[in-house]
């Protein structure tokens, strides 16, 4: 079965019905089991699990420490271009509905300067980002950016537009470690409503991108749904199905999941299904309980206090000191468009101190130049 076929077995109506049928004793059973399946996930996402969040949190912490130890990886995003031809109404990069501020694509020497600034702060793990503009931030441009970043950092991943297997292959030949690509929303109808322009309209091309990246040699595959665009319970189930599919079809790729909550959106966009703190926590814990080996990533979309509280619940990777505008590490000017406003404005040092205070070891370097084709 293709991923699309596996997801079509579980339309949102069927997921909602299964979750509605879950009883309190199903939550107890799901908590008690050592190996958990989809029916356990339904129970853990149900309203009956809400009073059991504390037990879920303890189990989630235990499972996370067993696989990842008491460590949190630290990374920084580098936005190399904010030009975008898509017009996603919820995003600051949207071509028409997004920010009216300047759109730039960093030249190679500017990318180098950003790398130098972050490397000087101790970073060894970065995520390069662009908008959806393959004619401006071309494949060759991104490959060169990976190549440059690899001179400074042990680990380089990208979060760019969906590519073909051959295109991903070229990036891995340049020393790329991983690919992150959010589906935004897994519900096909909702996806079609929100994505009406350009190549991003193609649901299947985006859905299958991580599988293609895995086939091309990605060591890390990052997935996620933008929480706030659709029913969070259904999106959580679909993320779980996507993760399990990737684990089976790309057995050498480590799957990680992000939980980007929509906070700051362009003025005319109203978040249709806002997710509360308790709902975010329930989604994270339920996923951890059925995916003990998946990495969980937390960005600076969340504020400092929330991040510190979420940290021991299963997080394995955190960004720190992030800028979401191109050139943001070398220039303080705010005239270029940001993808979203960061909520956690602490410096990398402050974030690292918070990780240590929570009893975890902040890990800057967890990959090596000896790995991959360019080693």
């Amino acid at each position: 079965m293709t991923l699309r076929q596996e997801l079509e077995v579980w339309p949102s109506r069927r997921i909602s019905a299964c979750i509605a049928q879950a009883r309190p004793e199903d939550v107890d059973a799901a908590l008690a089991r050592e190996e958990r399946g989809l029916s356990d996930l339904f129970a853990l996402l149900s309203p009956h699990a809400r009073p059991r969040l504390e037990s879920m949190a303890r189990e989630a912490g235990r499972l996370t420490r067993r696989h990842f130890g008491r460590t949190i990886q630290v990374y920084a995003p580098i936005y190399i271009s904010n030009v975008c031809t898509a017009d996603c109404p919820y995003c600051g990069f949207g071509a028409r509905s997004g920010s009216t501020l300047k759109r730039v694509t960093l030249a190679h020497d500017q990318i180098r300067a950003e790398c130098e600034a972050l490397s000087g702060q101790g970073f060894e793990n970065v995520l390069l980002l662009t908008g959806e503009a393959p004619k401006i931030a071309t494949l060759e441009y991104i490959a060169e950016a990976v190549h440059i970043a690899r001179e400074y950092f042990a680990s380089v991943s990208v979060e760019v537009y969906a590519m073909t297997r051959e295109e991903y292959q070229l990036l891995f030949d340049s020393g790329l470690e991983g690919v992150t690509l959010y589906m935004e929303t897994y519900d096909p109808e909702n996806y079609a409503r929100l994505h009406t322009v350009g190549r991003k309209r193609d649901y299947d091309f985006r859905l299958n991108a991580l599988e293609r990246a895995g086939q091309a040699g990605a060591r890390r595959l990052g997935l996620g749904a933008l929480l706030g665009l659709f029913d969070w319970r259904a999106e959580t189930v679909w993320m779980a199905l996507h993760a399990r599919y990737l684990q089976k079809h790309c057995w050498q790729g480590a799957v990680s999941i992000s939980f980007p909550r929509l906070h700051h959106v362009p003025k005319r966009f109203v978040v249709p299904a806002a997710v509360s703190d308790a709902e975010l926590v329930q989604a994270m814990l339920a996923l951890r309980l059925i995916l003990p080996e998946a990495g969980f990533t937390l960005s600076t979309r969340e504020n400092a206090a929330t991040r510190d509280r979420l940290l021991p619940l299963g997080i394995t990777m955190m960004s720190a000191g992030s800028s979401t505008r191109p050139g943001g590490y070398t220039s303080r000017a705010n005239e270029t468009a940001a993808q979203f406003e960061t909520e956690d404005r602490r410096s990398p040092r402050e974030v690292v101190r918070a990780i240590e205070q929570a009893g975890y070891d902040p890990v800057w370097k967890d990959f090596d130049h000896a790995f991959g084709s360019s080693g």
Binding site: R66, R219, D361, D366, D368, A370
Partner: protein
């Protein structure tokens, strides 16, 4: 235990407990665990270390090279080439030419790839490395690695971090019976009793990490493991009695045969 040292590649060690250094909440917690364990071999993931920069607060700061041998490991490597590259980098950075081969291409269970491990071992042995490979509890693979010249074999008890204990007991026993190099049970030992069990069946040493790193008092757990390893070793040397399903009567039915 001084009269019963662990000897690997001609080097003697008093302790038969090796420590893995990942997963600890801080370098300090790691250092306290190492000290409490008395371990003389500590393995370090090269991917976590920046060989170009001094390591003031990192893993290496927790290890006293006068007391412990730093055993660099290749975890994260997916191919023999990557593992070989890492081992050479470590040697160039001044580590002893010892390497623990960890070739775990699958990130969920971190099980070792036997094909790549054998390939890497063959290359590194020829280059003069003391090679300790992390392997499945596969007796044939263990013999193939021994023939390739590895200084030990390190079969797993259960998947890394699983704390499940010596699930591979029967196969590890065959490896021990057939091996001419030290057998170190690595991975999956979640409690001191698991370590004692491995030593009782004749393992030469054990390696633990998660069970210590995840304990609320890592140093105390390290001490408990050290005692269990020592107890298991003494029991093995003393010769354990066979286990039986039935009681052995103290007045045997055939006792009359010995009379008068």
């Amino acid at each position: 235990m001084n009269e019963d040292p662990l000897v690997i590649a001609g080097r003697s060690f008093r302790s038969r407990l090796m420590i893995g250094s990942g997963k600890f909440p801080s370098a300090r917690a790691l250092r306290l665990a190492i000290e409490a364990s008395g371990a003389e071999i500590v393995t370090v993931a090269l991917r976590r270390v920046d060989l170009g920069k001094p390591d003031e607060h990192g893993i290496l700061s927790a290890i006293d090279p006068k007391k412990q041998l730093i055993l660099p490991n290749t975890s994260g490597a997916r191919t023999a080439e990557e593992a070989v590259r890492l081992a050479r980098l470590a040697q160039a950075a001044g580590f002893d030419p010892w390497v623990k081969l960890e070739l775990t291409p699958e990130p969920r269970y971190l099980l070792p790839d036997p094909v790549e491990t054998l390939r890497a071992a063959e290359i590194l042995v020829k280059e003069g490395f003391v090679v300790l490979p992390y392997i499945q509890a596969d007796p044939i693979l263990a013999k193939r690695l021994e023939e390739a010249g590895t200084a030990a074999v390190m079969p797993l008890g259960a998947p890394i971090g699983s704390n499940r204990g010596l699930k591979t007991r029967d196969l590890v026993k065959i490896i021990i019976e057939q091996s001419n190099v030290p057998v170190v049970v690595d991975a999956g030992l979640g409690a001191p009793s698991h370590a004692a069990e491995a030593m009782e069946i004749g393992a030469d040493a054990v390696l633990v990490n998660t069970a210590l790193a995840d304990a609320s008092d890592a140093a105390a757990m390290a001490r408990a493991f050290a005692l269990a390893v020592e107890a298991g070793r003494i029991a093995y040397r003393a010769g354990l009695g066979p286990t039986r399903n039935t009681a052995e009567a103290s007045s045997p039915l055939t006792g009359f045969l010995d009379e008068g």
